[in-house]
């Protein structure tokens, strides 16, 4: 049985991370930005678990990833509530339309 | 080959055949499992649609469905299938065509993949995971995605309403579903469905539904919640045909439409099997004498086939109850559905969960043993794998499934 090794996993994680970053930077829809954040978090989680399997991190990697998933879900819930609240007040979810506060 | 499949007793058994060889046995085992999963996924739709017609016909005194299609009307489902396959596959102009085409596949894949965690009989499981139950619920929860996407992408307001209702309903009902599914886990101390089922060996009093008052109520709550998560009546708001035409599948036709139905009946069957494995003793008949007699008569391995039949029978009864409920109760309103979940089912399941965790401690304090019924020689608490075995010596105590199956094989070998 062939073993994939650590580096390929890390590279997949890096691709996810970068896609997420670009997504956060370029999307104007607030929910699109949040999707970018999810991608970034998944890249990090994949890193942690790959290190936990092949690296010296051991089981701690899985434990940390577990909490990250939970925290990310909580963050997404609040973010979505804020987006809804914004939509109720402004009737748009375009982040670039949020410019009332620029002076 | 995935490392888990290699541990399966079926593969080990096949490799003893000789002319198959090691890899051939693995392949054969994989094929058999794939076939089993496929059958369990595909057949219920045909059987239970027929059953639904017959039962509803009897319940509502409608004679039509009981008279057509060959003897007992068994050809009716087949005729339906042929009709659906030959129908034209329409994509509305307003639809988001890619998502519209993909959505039925998501639903089908989700309800199909859920079967890989189900042990059909002792050790007969496509993917022996120690988190089987958890994974099953997780995969089942993916079904909602397909339905939301179908509702959204159809470009029709009926569909969108259906999709939204489904999303709200599923997301809320997942909470009591998870909580009630955890209650037998608490009692058994394992997430492995095979282990949980094997712990209910012996008299029917060993079934987890009779384990304590909380699991008893939890079974009924679980059953109710699974009705909702399968969008079966009285919770079929997503496709309420009297108000939303067809809900999320209004715009679908032909094969894609039939996929939704295939998935619905398959997941009805899936949740029934889950209920049987968690609460109703899995593949054990509840009569230890009978179980032992069968094993002694036909040997451990063929006995598993009979075990599978027992599991199928129990689950089919539950499916029939689902059908019976559908044709008996009126549909709820959407606000009633949400109230039922958030105001009643969630608090009840929280209370049950707390109760189920405290119960063994109370029993230990009062009776000095963790079970009320002095049935059998080992109460369920003692049957939990010692923490040490699973943790410090993983190779030895991999999981109960393999150990049980190995010991059966050893017994056979010695005989």
């Amino acid at each position: 049985m062939s073993d994939v090794g650590l580096t390929p996993y890390l590279i997949v994680a890096a691709v996810l991370f970068v896609c997420g970053i670009v997504c956060m930077a370029t999307k104007r829809n607030a929910i699109g930005v949040l999707m970018g954040v999810e991608l970034v978090l998944n890249g990090a989680n994949l890193n942690l678990i790959a290190f936990s399997r092949y690296g010296q991190l051991g089981f701690d990697g899985q434990a940390i990833a577990m909490f990250v998933i939970v925290l990310a879900a909580a963050e997404a819930a609040v973010a979505l509530a804020i987006v809804l609240n914004f939509y109720n007040n402004h009737l748009t979810v375009d982040v670039d339309q949020a410019r009332q506060l620029n002076s | 080959m995935s490392p888990h499949l290699a541990e399966l007793s079926l593969a080990e058994r096949l490799s003893e055949v000789g002319w198959l060889g090691q890899s051939g046995a693995l392949l054969a085992a994989a094929l058999i499992h794939a076939l089993l999963v496929g059958l369990f996924f595909g057949l219920p739709a045909f059987v239970f649609i027929w059953a639904e017609r017959k039962i509803s016909g009897r319940i509502q005194d409608r004679l039509g469905p009981t008279r057509t299609g060959g003897r007992f009307g068994w050809l009716q489902s087949l005729a339906d299938g042929v009709k659906l396959v030959s129908k034209e596959d329409l994509v509305p102009a307003a639809a988001d065509s890619m998502l519209f085409r993909v959505a039925p596949y998501i639903v089908v894949v989700a309800s199909f993949a859920a079967f890989i965690v189900i042990p059909f009989s002792d050790g007969w499981i496509a993917q022996a995971l120690d988190v089987g139950l958890f994974l099953g619920l997780a995969i089942l929860s993916l079904e909602v995605l397909g339905i939301i996407l179908a509702g959204y992408s159809s470009g029709s307001k009926w569909s969108l309403f259906g999709g939204m209702r489904e999303a709200a309903q599923m997301v809320s009902y997942e909470v009591p579903l998870g909580l009630t599914a955890v209650i037998p886990v608490v009692a058994a101390g394992s997430l492995n469905l095979n282990e949980i089922a094997n712990m209910q060996r012996g008299w029917a009093g060993h079934w987890l539904v009779f384990h304590d008052p909380f699991t008893f109520i939890a079974f009924f709550v679980f059953f109710t919640v699974t009705l909702a998560s399968n969008k079966r009546a009285p919770f079929d708001l997503a496709e309420a045909e009297s108000e939303l035409v067809g809900g999320f599948h209004t715009e679908y036709s032909g094969m894609r439409w039939s996929f939704f139905f295939l998935a619905e009946y398959a997941s009805m069957f899936f949740v029934s099997m889950l209920a049987v494995l968690l609460f109703l003793g899995g593949w054990w008949t509840g009569l230890p004498g009978l179980d032992e007699a069968v094993i002694a008569a036909v040997g451990g391995y063929p006995a598993r086939v009979l075990g599978m039949v027992v599991l199928l029978a129990k689950s089919s009864i539950l499916v029939c109850v689902q059908i019976w409920i559908r044709w008996t109760l009126p549909r709820l309103r959407i606000d009633q559905v949400m109230t039922t979940c958030l105001k009643y089912l969630v608090p009840i399941s929280c209370f049950l969960f707390l109760g189920a965790t405290i119960w063994p401690l109370v029993l230990l304090a009062v009776l000095g043993r963790p079970s009320v019924l002095p049935l059998g020689d080992e109460p369920i608490g003692a049957r939990v794998v010692p923490a040490q075995a699973g943790l410090s010596a993983p190779a030895a105590g991999r999981n109960m499934a393999t150990r049980v199956s190995r010991s059966t094989q050893e017994a056979e070998g010695s005989r």
Partner: protein
Amino acid sequence: METVIFTIYALAACGGAIAVMVSQNVVRMAFWLVISLGSVAGLFFLLHADFLGATQLLIYVGGTVVLLIFGVMLTASGPMLTIRSGPGEVVLGGLVGLAVLGMLVFGMLSVDWESQQTRMYSAAAEEGRGERSMGYNPEGEGNTARRLGAALLGVRFDRDLGRNSETLSTGYLLPFEIVSVHLLVVLVGASYLARTKRRRPNPLEESLES
């Protein structure tokens, strides 16, 4: 065989992520996100993190993404669905992204992970923690639920058993308990924000508004 499965999942994960990045329609983005996250869950299974894989499917794919799509449906009406980003932003974002990716991949390729691990292992052995295994114990592959449960209880059976050491290994009791407080607080906050407007208007707010 593992390589083949890995390749499929990895391509699906990366492809999904790239499609999320490129796609302009929010609902399609959500669909690609599901593909990507689902494949990551598959990679978790391949890494023998079964519990994490199932959690990923249940919480991320089945929960968070459904929540996101729900949000899209509540806020999206026609034109809002495809808010395009300007070409300048896309080019700039793409370039920065490529630069970061290049740096990360260069760093990852130039580290010799195996010798790193050996060195770390021998260093750990010198500190008297030689029982610590190389990586996640492959003998107990897949059997993660109990380990994780014990770690969340605060005791590391997998590390401390059979070892007579004064210090206990890192257990995760504190985060496990305190996260529940966090979830409660967050739930209260989210429900407060998403609730409909209050019944009586606050004069302070109205005056600030005008």
